[in-house]
């Protein structure tokens, strides 16, 4: 699978995300000769354990997430960030979870937007909205270099492309910027060859940032 960076929009201190920023980013990508290819959608769910005594909840990991990705429609990914666990499962696991009722959905976030092709690069720009809500909670961008799938070999290319994107975006004087944090994939037991599990971990990692951003604006409704 080609190497992919998932970038989170970090608004400047005191500002918030809004759809205007999203539009500007999309226009910027199109200005870089990006060819719009279609729409994409991913979803991330926070789970909470269903316990008879809620007091015990502290013993269970709070950052247990389930992620569905558009490039793997038949799979579902679980990440427990605290313990550096990532798991790829079949989609049907969600049915099993519902039947078991051991973990319930705390909150689900949808990532959706448009996909662009710039030569050998593929960009996805998307908004982050909670399920059943229209309020924009964040903006993410996926950056993919299609020809090669080695993390190591493509790193420089990705960095340079990121710089090019930053340069293009900075001309628009937006109140914020995209951030890239590379999780330590080795801790999760993953290797140099990029896979969807890497993507799942990246989404899990930026959740912390997203939550912090949302906190700055308004308390996260639980």
């Amino acid at each position: 699978m080609p190497n992919k960076w998932v970038l989170n929009w970090q608004p400047n201190a005191g500002t918030t995300v809004n759809s205007q920023i999203l539009n500007e980013v999309s226009q910027c990508v199109e200005g870089m000769n990006g060819v719009k290819e279609g729409r994409w959608k991913a979803a991330l769910t926070f789970y909470k354990p269903m316990l008879r005594e809620q007091a015990l909840a502290a013993e269970f990991p709070r950052d247990f997430m389930g992620i569905s990705l558009p490039e793997q429609p038949s799979k579902y990914y679980f990440v427990i960030r605290g313990q550096k666990i990532v798991l790829e499962a079949e989609q049907t696991i969600q049915t099993i979870m519902e039947k078991l009722q051991s973990y319930k959905t705390r909150v689900t976030l949808n990532f959706e937007g448009s996909q662009y092709r710039l030569g050998d690069f593929q960009l996805r720009v998307g908004k982050v909205v909670p399920l059943h809500s229209e309020s924009l909670r964040g903006i993410v961008m996926e950056m993919e270099y299609l020809p090669i799938s080695s993390l190591d070999k493509s790193r420089q290319m990705m960095e340079e492309f990121f710089d090019v994107c930053q340069e293009a975006l900075s001309k628009r004087h937006l109140p914020g910027h995209f951030m890239h944090i590379e999780p330590n994939f080795a801790e999760y037991g993953l290797f140099d060859n990029y896979t969807s599990q890497h993507t799942a971990i990246q989404y899990a990692t930026i959740m912390a940032q997203l939550i912090a951003t949302a906190h700055a604006v308004q308390p996260v409704r639980n």
Partner: protein, 419 residues
């Protein structure tokens, strides 16, 4: 409709008309007569085309004369006018013939798109030259094919006879260009290039040397058909299932075992060389004829790319490798033109210089202004490329510690040696 059955194609659309025999009342002439008419018209067309060519020549001549002697006599002008009139007539005639051929079904859409014309339905013209009208006369094609085989056999016999007569010293019984022949020193054979200067320049030697000198490269050799099979079985980049990559890994390791024995046994059948730099690129070099050290095509692909387009004359789906392939074509021609004996050696080493494709900086990522694409430096200079071995006496710089100049990398726009 008559024209469908005249083409003889059992395509679904024309199936109905093909099944019905032509003498079901609709035909104007009997099929053989149609064929004769079609052949007639085709040869007419050939003649008209020849006339047009002559007319064009005459026009050019008249123009040339007129330019040499301006304002002299009106003769050139008259001849130009005359030629123009006759050309118009010829073109009109050609148009008429074309229309007649279209109406009789000899020229139709499926023949125009040549990629499909010999594929799904029966060819109108057999390799032998015989024309077959429709599917249920298929045995004619079979007969034509059989006669083609006979004729080829006769031609081959005639050729070997002549070869025996005029080149008796080549007649060792082995008709092919085996590796040992190269050392005999005869300059007459059509494709072998002398190896007297470098005695170790057999294909195996070149490849072994390459593997020794360049680390990280994996070299495989194939017969031509085997490569096509392998290319089709490579996982294509759109398939992202993790299971696939482990399957690919297994295939590779078993392939390695296979390749080890293959290279030793059929050195004179090797037609395709694969150079793989894992995670960077895969280069496919084609040799012609098989077993020789003469490259005739080269192409670059993503290491994760698979499919039947992955061969020495194919193009990658990714822009970066497409650009490199184009540049490599130029480099190949340069190496062949400069010194054919070492062209393969030079080419392979030059290909290996791309192993730092994604790390060597020109400024790594730059907008290719022509194509409006962001690419790494895809061009590497080949003009002064020597690819010398450490033991070579020509160069004081060994391949390993190459100077900065030797191994520059450039973007398309930055390339200094643009022709």
């Amino acid at each position: 409709m008559q024209q469908a059955s005249a083409t003889g194609g059992p395509t679904p659309a024309a199936a109905k008309s093909v099944q019905s025999p032509p003498d079901s009342g609709e035909s104007v002439e009997a099929p053989p007569k149609q064929v004769a008419l079609a052949m007639d018209r085709l040869s007419q067309a050939g003649r008209v085309i020849a006339d047009i060519r002559l007319g064009a020549d005459r026009l050019l001549e008249a123009l040339f004369v007129a330019s040499r002697q301006p304002q002299q006599s009106p003769k050139p002008l008259q001849s130009i006018l005359k030629e123009e009139a006759s050309m118009r007539n010829c073109l009109q005639e050609l148009r008429t013939i074309g229309r007649q051929l279209e109406d009789s079904g000899v020229l139709n859409e499926s023949l125009r798109s040549r990629s499909n014309s010999w594929g799904l339905h029966m060819p109108l013209v057999c390799p032998d030259g015989a024309v077959v009208a429709y599917a249920w006369k298929r045995q004619l094609a079979g007969q034509a094919g059989a006669s083609a085989v006979d004729r080829t056999r006769l031609a081959l016999k005639a050729f070997t006879d002549q070869k025996r007569r005029f080149f008796p010293h080549l007649d060792d019984g082995a008709g092919g260009e085996s590796v040992s022949k190269r050392h005999s020193g005869f300059q007459v054979s059509t494709d072998s290039h002398e190896e007297e200067l470098n005695d170790d320049r057999t294909l195996s030697d070149i490849l072994l040397n390459l593997e020794k000198e360049v680390k990280n490269v994996k070299v495989f050799t194939y017969e031509r058909l085997d490569w096509l099979k392998r290319a089709s079985s490579l996982p294509s980049s759109s398939n992202e299932c993790i299971v696939e990559s482990s399957k690919e890994h297994n295939f590779r390791s078993s392939n390695n075992l296979r390749q080890g024995t293959k290279r030793v046994i059929t050195a004179d059948k090797v037609a395709v060389i694969e150079l793989l730099f894992p995670s960077v690129f895969r280069a496919v070099v084609s040799l012609h004829p098989a077993g020789s050290i003469d490259p005739d095509a080269v192409a670059f692909f993503s290491p994760d790319e698979g499919g039947s387009h992955v061969h020495a004359r194919g193009f990658s789906v990714y822009h970066v490798y497409r650009h490199i392939t184009e540049h490599a074509g130029l480099a190949l021609q340069y190496f062949l033109g400069r010194r054919t004996e070492t062209s393969l050696h030079s080419l392979l080493h030059w290909i290996c210089s791309y192993q730092n494709l994604f790390s060597k900086v020109c400024r790594l990522l730059s907008m290719d202004t022509q194509a409006a694409l962001l690419l790494p430096p895809v061009q590497r200079p080949y003009r002064n490329f020597t690819g010398s071995k450490p033991s070579s006496t020509q160069q004081s710089i060994s391949f390993k510690d190459q100077s900065v100049d030797e191994n520059q990398a450039y973007h398309v726009d930055c390339f200094p040696e643009e022709t």
